[in-house]
Assembly symmetry: C2
Homo-oligomer: 294 residues x 2
């Protein structure tokens, strides 16, 4: 299974980074996970835009000879070389500040230090069983840092939240900061409250999820009333529907929260409609076939 590391395509077992790498020592890097279908990236441009915004904020630079378009080409080549030209797949890309051969110090290494670029493609099975039944969730305190809008590898709080969810038999954890629902450990959170589909506004407290953005667009196409306004955690139990969104999640209805039934304990119609529209767009984009009526 070839992966890409700093210009080379090699077997994953051979893909190794220096112990000096600032990804390994400081969590000093950004990443993206992009969905693919039929060998083509879904919303690839949006993922690359977000990646480049993160790089800019962290003053990370592309290595010589690579840019966003080049990384898209790398991703597509990985899909081909891993026999992922059909069906669902995902591509992981990560860029760290590198640092091989430099002394460990918090300060950025010299401007000539090349970043580390890693990419890998793998088969992906959408969690459709959980979607049909509806997922369980737990609430946890949001312990993350002040720049959750950047998709960095500062993921330990997310790891701990997701682990707690998994230990409780839940799909994901709903993170709560100052009484407000921010997002899941690897998803955004939506709630249908008083007929309005709400999700946390973009800003430093949440990741601006690509699927979140697309779902908001699809909701408007469905003529649903949407509002990017904070959801108090105390209001979640009386939401008509709650769902997670994410690249490897799509739209996932939540039917239990902290052990109590949510939204009647069954997946709701709005989540179902949005999931159908999302799949329609995914298929249309990746096959080039425009769905009827658009």
């Amino acid at each position: 299974m070839p992966v890409y590391l700093n210009g080379a395509y090699l077997d994953k077992a051979a893909a190794r980074v220096s112990v000096d790498d600032r990804g390994f020592l400081f969590g000093d890097g950004v990443y993206e996970v992009t969905r693919a279908r039929a060998g083509r990236l879904f919303a690839g441009d949006r993922h690359l835009l977000r990646l480049e915004r993160g790089m800019q904020e962290l003053e990370l630079r592309w290595p010589e000879g690579l840019d966003a378009a080049g990384l898209a080409a790398v991703s597509e080549r990985l899909l081909r070389e891993n026999d992922l030209g059909e069906g669902d797949a995902m591509v992981y890309v990560q860029i760290t500040r590198g640092g091989e051969g430099t002394p460990r110090t918090h300060v950025f290494p010299g401007p000539g230090t090349p970043p580390t670029v890693y990419a890998a493609a793998s088969r992906f099975t959408p969690p459709d069983d959980a979607r049909t039944r509806g997922a369980a969730a737990i609430t946890v305190p949001d312990l993350r840092w002040g720049r959750c809008d950047l998709k960095t590898i500062q993921l330990l709080p997310n790891v701990l939240a997701k682990q707690r969810a998994a230990a409780a038999g839940a799909y994901d954890a709903v993170q709560v900061r100052d009484g407000i629902v921010t997002e899941g450990a690897h998803t955004n959170v939506f709630a249908l409250l008083g007929g309005v589909l709400r999700t946390h506004p973009a800003g430093p407290r949440i990741l601006p999820g690509i699927t979140r953005e697309i779902v908001l667009e699809l909701a408007r196409e469905l003529e649903l009333t949407t509002s990017e306004e904070p959801i108090p955690a105390a209001e979640l139990p009386r939401a008509a529907e709650v769902f997670f969104t994410g690249t490897t999640t799509d739209v996932m209805p939540v039917v239990r929260l902290d052990g109590h039934a949510l939204g009647g304990g069954r997946p709701g119609p709005v989540a179902g409609q949005l999931q159908a529209k999302l799949l329609e767009r995914l298929h249309a984009t990746t096959t080039g076939v425009t769905p009827a009526g658009r």
Copy 2:
């Protein structure tokens, strides 16, 4: 220059970790930096206790055949093999959740997955020139997560704070959360206010620095009045003395803050006394010679 990686001593250029390593992908690990002198670790037991507490909180386990005492032996061997049997040195150790060959997912990998243990020793030159002149500092917002008491590799906010300090010609950044001085990017902060030596209380908002702890002990030996009570950032400019403490910092007087002179613009006597006492203890511990009067 041999380093230690997962049971082997090898040249640093050969010390490489899998791209699957959760240190590289998630910042999922803990670390310690320990001072050494004359080939012996200073306060090694305290560093290992803190490391083990962090491991416990993150549910990280020692690999088969290694424990805290074993890691101390590894550290001492690295000092010897790197010709650091004399003078000042430091030992870096890091333990991540490993993960080679496991799929990337936030949830912990199976219990059989060995952690990654990395250690390296290097020459260390105490920043005595800056100490003599007194250091500059800047204040920055504290953007870190909610478990700053754990010495994890979630260090990107610290990196960004230190980089801002360096760009401003300062030694370190004083991080401020909700108007309160928490700590530096890689140091703790003390201030002498109204005759009382104050530093932020231990708890989730600061790292319980080993040097911080020793400096508090030394201050009591000097019969100074100490108080672990939060310091409002607004009070810093009128402190008689402000100083950083840390393993690679010792006691560093701060004489400029955000471009304004602090404590008369010269290193103060309390910082000087504490630095002298700290060196005394460092030398006594690492040579086995008990200083007079103890």
